[in-house]
């Protein structure tokens, strides 16, 4: 055990003070805090004694959330787990294994009672006593119920842990349940970072916010941090002008699709999914599903991702005025109808006729007046 800790201490971080401050300032700005908070974050992150211990539990999941965290570069994962937090237990990243790892988990939980952050990845099966997901012979349901009351806060990462995700899709054979539902009524604070996978930075920022201020960021009614999930993807989408102008890709590979038009008609769920993919993007290279030409499938939104068929058009939120107001939506509009053309022709004819008669009359009157 001790040897593991010393290992951590001896690894050179390879990050200069200047670079490190840059990272912290960037994090502050990204969270919508003033840049002056950068040094504060740096201070909090480097104060060795304050390094908050983190226990990372895995339920029914695919490890995609851990994978997405591996792709972050500011800060990098190693910087996070070696310098910013003390990752005491994570099945994917543990150096130890088996009983050794389990023992260390139990020890860390006892030592850091009420201080550690519990991260949960994956949904928790509750059917048949939770037998469908066991770690070291113990259902993950029990592990969660034992561990959570001792944690300072619980962060549920990924759609599985936050609302059920793939494992909860009908018919939900294992009774997959989100973490916050299991902890309902216990008073333990839970933060949801949904997404399949969520953007690593949404997780990092939440953790760094907690490390810096010792409290949780502002959450919405679904317990998601507002700085990341406050707006619909649609609101900041680069294809939004096409939506507003009525230019849509109607099929994969058609002219509209090749021209980068809006993917709404291909079933893009951006208009009903609250997330910041359209502004934050993934993998530090500005990529995300919509700019590769695939519609968003609403992975982070309960009742949308893994629930609504991929190509079913989304329910566009925030454009529909209240029912008391008159509707404004018209699609392609009608062409000429016989009645309309006849009416226009009659009126134009009447106007021309009246004009001709008037010209004649003016001539007659003029002669009279002369």
């Amino acid at each position: 055990m001790k040897c593991r800790e010393s290992d951590f201490e001896n690894i050179p971080s390879g990050v200069s003070r200047r670079d490190f401050l840059k990272v912290c300032t960037a994090t502050a700005v990204y969270m919508g805090l003033p840049a002056s908070f950068g040094p504060k974050i740096a201070e909090a992150a480097t104060a060795a004694k304050k390094r908050p211990p983190v226990i990372w539990l895995s339920g029914q999941e695919c490890t995609g959330c851990t994978e997405t965290l591996l792709r972050t570069s500011h800060p990098t994962l190693e910087h996070l787990i070696l310098d910013l937090i003390a990752l005491d237990y994570a099945e994917t990243l543990n150096t130890g294994a088996g009983h050794q790892a389990e023992e260390y988990r139990a020890k860390s939980i006892e030592e850091n009672k009420g201080k550690f952050i519990l991260v949960c990845e994956g949904s928790i099966p509750v059917k048949d006593g939770g037998i469908y997901c066991k770690i070291a012979g113990k259902p993950v349901l029990e592990i969660l119920q034992e561990t959570a009351p001792k944690a300072a806060a619980v962060i549920a990462i990924g759609s599985c842990a936050t609302w059920g995700g793939v494992p909860s899709a009908g018919p939900n054979p294992t009774g997959a349940t989100p973490v916050y539902k299991i902890l309902e009524g216990t008073g333990i604070p839970v933060i949801n970072i949904p997404g399949c996978p969520p953007n690593g930075y949404n997780f990092l920022s939440t953790v760094l916010y907690y490390v810096t201020f010792g409290k949780l960021p502002e959450l919405d009614d679904k317990l998601r941090p507002k700085f990341a999930y406050g707006r619909l993807i649609h609101e900041n989408c680069e294809r939004r002008p096409h939506f507003d102008a009525g230019r849509f890709a109607e099929q994969f590979g058609d002219e509209g699709h090749r021209n980068g038009f809006c993917l709404y008609k291909l079933g893009c769920k951006g208009p009903e999914t609250y997330n910041n993919c359209s502004t934050l993007r993934f993998n530090d290279m500005g990529t995300w599903p919509v700019n590769t030409g695939h519609p968003c499938f609403g992975c982070s939104e309960e009742g949308v991702g893994f629930t609504v068929p991929l190509h079913t058009p989304a329910n566009v939120k925030n454009i529909t005025p209240a029912a008391g107001l008159t509707p404004i939506n018209v699609d392609h509009g009608g062409g000429m109808s016989t009645g309309a053309v006849a009416l226009a022709a009659v009126v134009a004819g009447a106007a021309l006729g009246a004009g001709a008669v008037a010209v004649k009359k003016v001539g007659q009157e003029e002669k009279k007046q002369d």
Partner: protein
């Protein structure tokens, strides 16, 4: 001030009833529009967000309503007091034209209940041509009512109003504002870019729209004076119109030189002879501009009420077509979009026109607008 007098006579006449019936039908469609939405009465769509309500009621409507502007320019800016008798009726027509254009915008805006946002300074987008048009027209409607207000006040008190002392300020505004927004109505379609046929799309649009609007102003004064004389059985104002009409061919020459010079320089004139709808409409539009130029170039014709009226009719049609071509006929937003005004949509436009005529009839009969000689019989 000339001695303007109310024309008098019965308000409920045959023509009045005819226009009243059209207005009532239009009110039926209007209530439908406000209850069930724009889609229920119009054929406007995402590709053609502007239909005839904008094209006719606003763009053509305000151009026809430039009489007040053009006359103010002539009488006050160039100090030609002799045309003063024509100012009041021109102002009246402008006032209705612009007010009803404002009403049309309100009808046309899908979420009309949010229109007040246009006037909130903290939402101002200084780069928006549309906002400039909206604010400019809104202010100009107010200015027109103030410019016309002495007529009400005279009718009420029988004396000259105190507003007259401040009038020079409003007259100046009344010249400035239309100069701004009539050109901007052209700028709006610069933004259409490739969607607009090269026969009409040009960076010169603001200039041609402005010159055309001023020309329309004088044309409408001739038209409306002649029709009033005919309708109310009053002598023609040919003497004064003859002088006024000299301005029109001059403006027309400037307009046509810019128009054709621009198209030739861009090398797009060939499109006019394609034989398609756009090409033919372009030819028709320009024939309707050249005919009045030919007619009014002759001094004899300028002295004939009939010829003046005929050329005014041609030119009004030409100006109307220029605007319809630029806003609708030359506009192609892409495949899958069609537009032809629906019956209800057309009726609302006819209602706007009818309402204008009805109000003009009432005002002229009840208020001192037309300079007084002759008795009304209709």
């Amino acid at each position: 001030m000339s001695e303007a007098k109310p024309v008098g006579g019965k308000v409920f006449t045959g023509p009045f009833l005819f226009f009243l019936i059209i207005t009532l039908i239009g009110i039926y469609f209007l209530s439908k529009r406000f209850i069930f939405g724009i889609g229920a009465v119009t054929n406007m769509n995402d590709g053609f967000p502007w239909g005839i309500w904008i094209t006719y009621d606003v763009v053509v409507g305000t151009a026809f309503a430039c009489g007040g502007y053009s006359m103010a320019l002539l009488v006050y800016a160039f100090n030609n007091g002799e045309y003063h008798p024509l100012v009041r009726p021109a102002l009246l027509a402008s006032m209705f034209g612009y007010t009803l254009a404002g009403v049309s915008v309100f009808i046309d805006i899908g979420r009309y209940w949010q229109i007040y946002n246009v006037f909130l300074p903290w939402y101002t987008n200084f780069n928006s041509v549309l906002l400039e048009v909206a604010l400019c027209i809104a202010v100009y409607i107010g200015v027109l009512w103030i410019e016309f207000s002495p007529t009400f006040l005279e009718a009420k008190s029988g004396t000259k109003s105190k507003v007259n002392k401040l009038m020079i300020f409003f007259i100046a505004l009344g010249i400035l504002l239309p100069t701004m927004h009539q050109s901007s109505l052209g700028s709006l379609m610069i933004l259409a870019g490739n969607k607009l046929s090269p026969l009409w799309w040009t960076p010169m649009l603001p200039l041609t729209f402005l010159i055309s609007a001023i020309t329309m102003g004088y044309t409408v004064v001739i038209f409306e004076s002649t029709i009033s004389s005919l309708g109310f059985k009053r002598p023609f104002e040919t003497n004064i119109l003859t002088k006024l009409s000299l301005v029109i061919p001059i403006l027309l020459v400037i307009f046509l030189v810019i128009r054709f010079g621009d198209i030739l320089m861009r090398g797009q004139l060939g499109l006019a002879f394609n034989g398609d709808l756009q090409g033919n409409m372009f030819l028709l539009e320009n024939i309707l501009h050249i005919l009045p130029l030919v007619i009014l170039a002759s001094a004899t014709n300028r002295k004939s009420a009939k010829m003046l009226f005929l050329s005014a009719c041609f030119l009004m049609l030409g100006g109307l077509l220029f605007r319809f071509n630029t806003y609708l006929i030359g506009f192609n937003p892409g495949e899958g979009f069609h537009y032809f005004p629906a019956i209800g949509e057309q009726f609302i436009t006819y209602t706007i026109i009818s309402a204008e005529i009805l109000l003009y009839m009432i005002f002229v009969k009840k208020l001192p607008v037309l300079s007084g000689h002759g008795q009304a019989k209709v």
